[in-house]
Symmetry: C2
Subunit: 336 residues, 2 copies
C-alpha cells in the first residue's frame, strides 16, 4: 500500500469539520442542501487543510472526465496550431479541458494517441486531420463521440468539417488566369494526400474551364514543406521551362518556391506571380505579402470546439460551413 503522504481527502475534511464524507461531497458538488453551520465548518476545513479533490476518483465514479482529446497530425504545423488556438480559446472558460497530442502523420502514432486518450476517458475526441482509414474512424466513433476536421467520413457526416479545397485551388488558379497568365506552375502537395489531390484537381479544372492548355511538366511535386518545393522549382528553372506564375498547394511551399526564384534573380511579382494556400499568420508579413487562399482556421477551431461541447452535453448542435476565400495581396500582378 503506497503512502500517499500529503494527500488530503474528503475523509480528513469530514473529520476536521465533524461531519460525514457525504456531507462534504454534497457541498463540493452542490448536490443537496446542507445546513449553513456545517457548510461553513466544511469550507473552513477545506481551506485549512488545503483540500484538492481527486479528479480521477471522481471520474471513476461519474464516468465523465471533463476533458476533450485533441489529436492534430502535427502540433508544430502553423496551420493546425491556429486551429488548436481556436479550440483552446473556446474551452478556456468552460469546465472542459482540451488534451492535445500529435499523430505525427503516422497511423501507428495516431492510433496510439487515440487509444491513450480513450484509456484516459476523455469525454469526446477531435481529430485535426487523420491518416486513419474510414473504418477505423467509424469504430472509434462507436466508442467515444468523435469530430473530424479535414475529412468527411461516411456515416459521420454531421460530425465532420471539411473545406472545399477543389474550389479554393480553382479560385487561386483563376485569379492567375484572369491576370493574363497562361503558363502556371503548380507545386503539388504529397501524392495521395486528399487535400493535395483536391487542390491539384482545382488547378486543372480552372485551366480547363478557361481554355488554358494543360502542360503536365508544370505540375511539380512537393510534400507541403519548403525544401522539396525549393528544389523542384529550381530544377524547373534550370531546365528553362518557361512560366510566368506559380500556384503552390500551401504557403510553406510557396516560400520554398519564392526562394528558388530569388536565387535565380527572378522578382515576385515583377517577373513571376506567386499564390499560396492556407494563409498562415506569417504570410501577411512576407516581402511582398503573399496572395493566398485563406482558411479561417481560428474560427474553425472555435466552431469545432463549440460543437464538441454541445455534443458531450447532449445539446443539439450542427457544424457550420466555412468558405475558402482568395486573399489578394502583393505577390501577384497582371502579366504585362
Amino acid at each position: 500500500m503506497q503512502v500517499n503522504r500529503g494527500t488530503v481527502t474528503i475523509h480528513e475534511v469530514a473529520r476536521e469539520a465533524g461531519v460525514s464524507i457525504s456531507t462534504v461531497s454534497r457541498i463540493i458538488n452542490g448536490t443537496a442542501y446542507v445546513a449553513d453551520d456545517k457548510r461553513q465548518a466544511v469550507e473552513r476545513a477545506m481551506l485549512k487543510l488545503g483540500f484538492r479533490p481527486n479528479y480521477l476518483a471522481k471520474t471513476l465514479m461519474t464516468g465523465r472526465s471533463m476533458s476533450i482529446g485533441v489529436i492534430a497530425e502535427d502540433i508544430v504545423s502553423p496551420y493546425y496550431a491556429d486551429v488548436i488556438r481556436g479550440v483552446e480559446h473556446a474551452m478556456l472558460d468552460t469546465p472542459y479541458q482540451p488534451i492535445v497530442n500529435s499523430g505525427h502523420w503516422s497511423r501507428k502514432y495516431e492510433s496510439r494517441a487515440v487509444e491513450t486518450l480513450i484509456y484516459r476517458k476523455v469525454d469526446a475526441m477531435l481529430l485535426l486531420g487523420s491518416t486513419l482509414p474510414d473504418g477505423t474512424l467509424q469504430e472509434i466513433a462507436s466508442r467515444v463521440p468523435l469530430v473530424v476536421f479535414g475529412r468527411t467520413v461516411p456515416g459521420l457526416e454531421e460530425h465532420c468539417l471539411a473545406l472545399d479545397n477543389v474550389h479554393g485551388a480553382y479560385l487561386a488558379t483563376r485569379h492567375l488566369i484572369e491576370l493574363g497568365h497562361r503558363n502556371i506552375v503548380h507545386v503539388r502537395g504529397p501524392q495521395g494526400q486528399q487535400d493535395a489531390e483536391d487542390r491539384l484537381h482545382g488547378y486543372r479544372t480552372a485551366l480547363a474551364e478557361n481554355d488554358v492548355p494543360h502542360r503536365p511538366e508544370l505540375e511539380i511535386l512537393g510534400d507541403f514543406t519548403e525544401q522539396p518545393a525549393y528544389q523542384a522549382l529550381t530544377h524547373l528553372l534550370d531546365a528553362r521551362v518557361p512560366f510566368t506564375a506559380v500556384f503552390a498547394a500551401n504557403d510553406q511551399m510557396a516560400a520554398g518556391a519564392r526562394l528558388a526564384l530569388h536565387r535565380k534573380g527572378l522578382r515576385v511579382p515583377e517577373d513571376v506571380s506567386l499564390v499560396g494556400f492556407d494563409d498562415l499568420p506569417s504570410s501577411a508579413f512576407t516581402s511582398p505579402p503573399l496572395t493566398t487562399v485563406h482558411q479561417p482556421t481560428y474560427r474553425i477551431g472555435l466552431a469545432l470546439a463549440t460543437h464538441l461541447l454541445n455534443v458531450v452535453q447532449d445539446l443539439p448542435s450542427q457544424l457550420p460551413a466555412f468558405d475558402l476565400t482568395l486573399v489578394v495581396r502583393e505577390s501577384t500582378r497582371p502579366l504585362r
Copy 2:
C-alpha cells in the same frame, strides 16, 4: 449508480477465463508468473470481450498516471512548437504521454492549467516559459516534480534550463559591427519580459565594447509579433532616422521589419542588413534567408523530456547546457 454499459472489466475477463481477477491483473502487468494455460485462457477472453484496461482506476491505485503535463506559453508560437516537437519525440516510444496545454501568456490561465494538470495527477510537469512568480513555481515544485525552460528559478536551479540571451544578442550585434555597421536599430521585445530585456542588454553591451555610440532613438519597441515591429520601423523610416542595419529581438519581428523596409523600397541586404533571433524553421526559407541567432529548440525539447523521464523514475539526471549560435545566412553584408 450509472450504468457503464459496454465497459468490460477484469471481472468479466476473469469469469470468462475461469480465473480470479488478480490473475488477470498479473497477466496485464506482468507482475508474476502465471501458468501457461491460464494465461492463454485469459488472453483469449480479453480478445473475445474486447477488454480495455481502465487507466484511471489503475492510477488511483498506483498513484502514477504515466503522463507528463506540458504547459507552453503558447502552443501556436512556432518557437515553443519546435520545443514541444522535441518533447513529443522523446516520449514517443516510452510509456509516458505528454499532455500539452497553453498558458496563453496569462497568469490566470497558466495557473489554471497547472491546477488542472495536478488534479489529473500528472507525474511531473514541464513549463515552457512561465509568467508565474518564483514563489508560485517553488510551491508547485513542492507538489509535483517540476522542470522549467526559459527561466532559472531560485532553489530549482538543477531543474531549470535557460539560455544565455544576453550572449546571443551580443553575437548578433557584434556580427553587424564587424561588418562595418554603426547605426544599428534594435527592435525590442515586450518591456519587462526577461528574454527581451536580456537581448536588449546584449545589444547594448556589444555596442559599448566596440566603441559604437549608443543612440537611444534606434531602440524601438515591439512585442515579439510582426505587426508592431512593422509599424515601429515604418515610423523610424518616416522620421528619416539614418541607419544601415536592424537587429530584431526575434524572427517574427524581423519579418515585420523586413516588410517595412520593402515598402520603402529598401533592399535586404543591399541597403540594410537584417538579423533576427530564434531561427524559426521558416527563417531558412525567407528571401533572402535570414541571418539569425539559432536556438536548438528541438534538441532542447528532447533534453527536457529525457530529464523529466529520469526524474519521474528516480534516475540520476542532469540538464545539459545549450549554446546560442549565430547562423549567418544572406540577410547581412558588409557596409560598403
